[in-house]
């Protein structure tokens, strides 16, 4: 489900509905160190609101949220552990 490159770890949440994208993102974040970046691709319309909320609640930094129409792409940098 996740794939790691030099700059970030990819998480494919396409086709998944709430609560699964946030649930999977939380699991994937658990495996990263503070400062590392998770890139999430999503098709759930709610994700544009959900991932900023996820980042805020978890103390992560939402680097970018991009709506490409059919797909939404998020870059989230892991914050300190809470």
């Amino acid at each position: 489900m996740t794939h790691t490159t030099d700059t970030h770890t990819d998480l494919d949440c396409k086709g998944l509905l709430c609560p699964l994208p946030v649930y999977r993102a939380a699991q994937a974040m658990g495996k990263l160190a503070p400062g590392q970046v998770l890139r999430i691709e999503c098709t759930d319309r709610g994700s544009l609101e959900d991932f900023p909320a996820f980042a805020r609640q978890r103390g992560h930094t939402l680097l970018s949220a991009e709506d490409r129409g059919a797909v939404q792409v998020f870059l989230i940098q892991k914050g300190g552990d809470r």
């Binding site: 086709g15 998944l16 509905l17 709430c18 609560p19 699964l20 946030v22 649930y23 993102a25 939380a26 909320a53 996820f54 805020r56 609640q57 978890r58 103390g59 809470r82």
Partner: protein, 178 residues
């Protein structure tokens, strides 16, 4: 207060939200799950799994028909009642909803939708919630009233009364009855 001594101004100002978010205990969600239908089981499980993903502490008190969600056998067979449900996708008069087979048909349809949408079934969802640390309280009164034994329930539940749940809920930031 003694005359002549000035009372110190209260030094405790409300903590700014940002500070509160990072410095104090995790947020807490307390849910009461009271419905034993398939459509009634999902909202508390979705909220619980999400809140746990946000780093919150979560507890669900399963009471009355909601206890069926924790029942090893029954939670695989939760149903959608077409009777008295004007939101059914194929609207039907209540009289038809009362016919034999209609509940099974509505249930089969909902299960198909859930599967198509990739949503886990209730037992799987419950497992996800438990693995993320959600506390599952089985209402002991309901167990007594409905003759449910501890080994009828899934593993990892806390059998408790209202006092234990309220003790958890007293510190909750969000509480809901669903």
């Amino acid at each position: 207060m003694t005359a002549g001594t000035a009372a110190p101004a209260p030094s405790v100002a409300p903590m700014p939200i940002e500070e509160r978010e990072t410095k104090t205990r995790p947020r807490r969600l307390a849910l009461v799950a009271s419905k034993g239908t398939l459509d009634g089981a999902y909202p508390p499980l979705i909220l619980a799994a999400t809140a746990a993903s946000l780093g919150w502490e979560v507890g669900i008190f399963f009471t009355f028909y909601g206890l069926d969600i924790l029942h090893r056998k029954k939670h695989r067979k939760l149903k959608v009642p077409p009777l008295g449900n004007p939101a059914m996708p194929v609207p039907m008069p209540n009289l038809l909803g009362a016919l034999p087979g209609m509940t099974a048909a509505a249930t089969a349809m909902m299960r198909r939708w859930m599967k198509r949408a990739g949503l886990p079934d209730v037992p799987t969802f419950l497992g996800m919630a438990r693995e993320s640390g959600v506390r599952l309280y089985a209402c002991s009164t309901t167990m007594g009233v409905m003759g449910v034994e501890a080994n009828d329930l899934v593993d990892g539940v806390t059998i408790a009364g209202a006092a234990a749940f309220l003790d958890f809920a007293a510190e909750a930031d969000v509480s809901m009855f669903v």
